[in-house]
């Protein structure tokens, strides 16, 4: 890889470099969106603490990588840190989930929001030797050395990794939703009492959705931490939660492909705004307001998301169906 790396950087060019970065971020946010979708979309629990699980995963992975780097082979450290991140986030999900799932609607939202902020503030005020505190934590590069010549290869590696993870997670969620337990989760979300009367344990079903969601957010955190190489608590603020939520709502509560598409659109716009000249810098500076505005408009006009629970394939089929049914040569539909 060493000899080919500089060539790769040249082949990629600055444009390709920008795209590679975008795609990695898209896959991280897709994972976050998909996992929040389990909780908010399929599970219909209004959680606002996803940035907390993400941070737990990122810092969990970072901490373990710092501790293990150099003692074990790099890829092994990477895998272990991902698993550890998922474990930490899952533990967080359990701690917050068990007491909070008795709460409904707005109350659950407030409690989970509090959790997310607690995680961030706790990390910010942690001892510097442990998690880096407010200055951030440097995560050793365990997959490959990253120098000026290999940066492109590193990005491409993460593009591939992110893509594989998104596909795997999407497939797993799709299978789960179609399984008996997944259906039980959907049924519980629609009517807890009726679900209980059919032999479904509603609490278990809700906790399962919450746990899976938080675990996958932890995985997203691990990938993010390894990719960035340096993480600070500020990156896991509430505005990130808004972003993840916006992705889920844009893509449609309960739509897998919609979620990935929304992550792409949102991050593309965001990264593209970053390249705008200073003369229109206000567009960039007001992004928090703009996101909030989009969210408010969506909630008013498309409360179930742009696509709703449909998948892109459904929309495509419906569109083709309409075209096929439309009058072909001036004749009316039968």
């Amino acid at each position: 890889m060493g000899g080919g790396a500089p060539l790769l950087a040249i082949a990629l060019g600055p444009e390709g470099y920008w795209w590679a970065n975008l795609l990695v971020l898209v896959s991280v946010y897709s994972l976050l969106g998909l996992s929040l979708n389990l909780i908010n979309g399929y599970g219909r629990m209004f959680s606002l603490g996803h940035h907390g699980f993400w941070a737990l995963g990122a810092y969990g992975a970072g901490w373990l990588t710092v501790a293990l780097a150099g003692t074990l082979p790099g890829p092994l450290v990477f895998v272990l840190s991902c698993l550890f991140a998922m474990g930490v986030a899952a533990a967080g999900g359990l701690v917050i989930g068990l007491p909070c799932l008795r709460l409904r609607g707005d109350y659950l939202a407030i409690a989970t929001l509090g959790f997310g902020e607690i995680v961030r503030i706790a990390i910010q005020n942690s001892p510097r030797e442990l998690l880096g505190g407010a200055e951030g934590l440097t995560v050793p590069r365990v997959l490959m050395e990253v120098g000026p010549e290999t940066r492109a290869a590193y990005r491409l590696l993460f593009v591939g990794l992110g893509l594989v993870l998104v596909v795997l997670v999407a497939a797993a969620i799709r299978n789960y939703v179609r399984s008996a337990r997944g259906r039980a989760m959907l049924a519980t979300a629609q009517d807890e009492v009726a679900a209980g009367l059919l032999g479904i344990d509603p609490t278990r079903s809700k906790v399962a959705a919450f746990l899976m969601g938080s675990t996958l957010a932890g995985l997203a955190g691990a990938v993010y931490a390894h990719y960035q190489g340096n993480i600070t608590p500020l990156e896991f603020g509430f505005m990130e939660m808004v972003k993840i939520f916006l992705i889920v709502v844009l893509g449609g509560l309960g739509s897998i492909s919609g979620c990935v598409l929304a992550a792409f659109v949102l991050l593309f716009v965001e990264q593209w705004l970053g390249r705008l000249p200073d003369s229109v810098g206000w567009v960039k500076e007001w992004w928090q307001v703009e996101y909030a505005l989009v969210l408010v408009l969506l909630m008013i006009f498309r409360p179930r998301g742009l696509l709703g629970p449909r998948e892109l394939t459904d929309v495509w089929r419906a569109w083709r169906g309409r075209r096929a049914a439309a009058p072909g040569r001036g004749g009316g539909a039968p």
């Binding site: 008996a180 259906r183 039980a184 959907l186 049924a187 629609q190 009517d191 009492v193 009726a194 679900a195 209980g196 009367l197 059919l198 032999g199 479904i200 344990d201 509603p202 629970p309």
Partner: protein, 234 residues
């Protein structure tokens, strides 16, 4: 099969049932009639585990089931078809039915029950792939009963199956309830406001007033009872 002895139920500090005792024999259709607020639904919810009694006991096939959670009671063989149907509007008819067999892990049994339910309610077979929410009230009631039957219950609790349904469909549904009892041998405890229908279908009945059992007899006697005629049969 089912025995309630001296059951008291409270909602917070308000008492809804006062020392209710009731028995249902295997294979029977028993009805529970009474006005709004008499405690009929409360009684069913107590049996199925959505509520737990503050005094007294509920036994099913000899074993105490009071205090068990609803999802545990189902596994004992009691299906509760709740008031207002509560079907899953966004799941298809078939998915709704499959949810009803959630506790049954054997695919072949689920399939057999599915065919039986479709045999009882051919309309459901026609609407198999349709979301439950798009069915008419009567069809939703059929779906709710079918879903309850999917668990293969020995005792079926039916709460107001005639509520908000076109009269012609009510007749059909009551005929199917009779078939469920006759052909599948399912014991049925039926709660119904429409005393005419209920007393016509069931063999025995209980009259509930403000949380107490005030009358208990065979339905043909209840139909002749002057008090019942006055209060419920108009």
């Amino acid at each position: 099969m089912l025995t309630l002895t001296g059951v008291d139920v409270h909602y917070g500090r308000v008492q809804a049932l006062f020392g209710v005792s009731l028995t249902v024999q295997a294979g029977e259709i028993v009805t529970l009639i009474g006005c709004n607020g008499a405690g009929k639904t409360t009684l069913l919810r107590t049996i199925s585990g959505l509520l737990s009694p503050s005094a007294g006991e509920v036994r099913f096939e000899g074993e105490r089931i009071d205090g068990l959670r609803a999802d545990r009671v189902v596994r004992r063989g009691i299906a509760h078809c709740p008031e207002g149907r509560r079907i899953f509007g966004q799941l298809t008819v078939r998915e709704n039915l499959e949810m009803g067999a959630y506790v049954e892990r054997r695919r072949d049994r689920v399939q057999a029950r599915l065919e039986r339910v479709y045999g009882l309610f051919p309309r459901l077979a026609e609407r198999e792939g349709q979301p439950g929410g798009t069915l008419s009230g009567g069809e939703q009631q059929m779906l709710a009963i079918g879903r309850a039957l999917m668990g293969g219950p020995r005792l079926l609790l039916l709460d107001e199956p005639s509520l908000g349904i076109a009269p012609i469909l009510v007749q059909e549904i009551f005929a199917e309830i009779r078939r469920v009892n006759a052909e599948l041998g399912t014991t049925i405890l039926l709660v119904e406001q429409n005393a005419h229908l209920a007393l016509g279908l069931a063999a025995r009945g209980y009259v509930l007033e403000t949380g107490r059992v005030v009358l208990e007899d065979e339905c043909r006697c209840l139909r002749e009872d002057p008090q019942v005629r006055e209060a419920y049969l108009g």
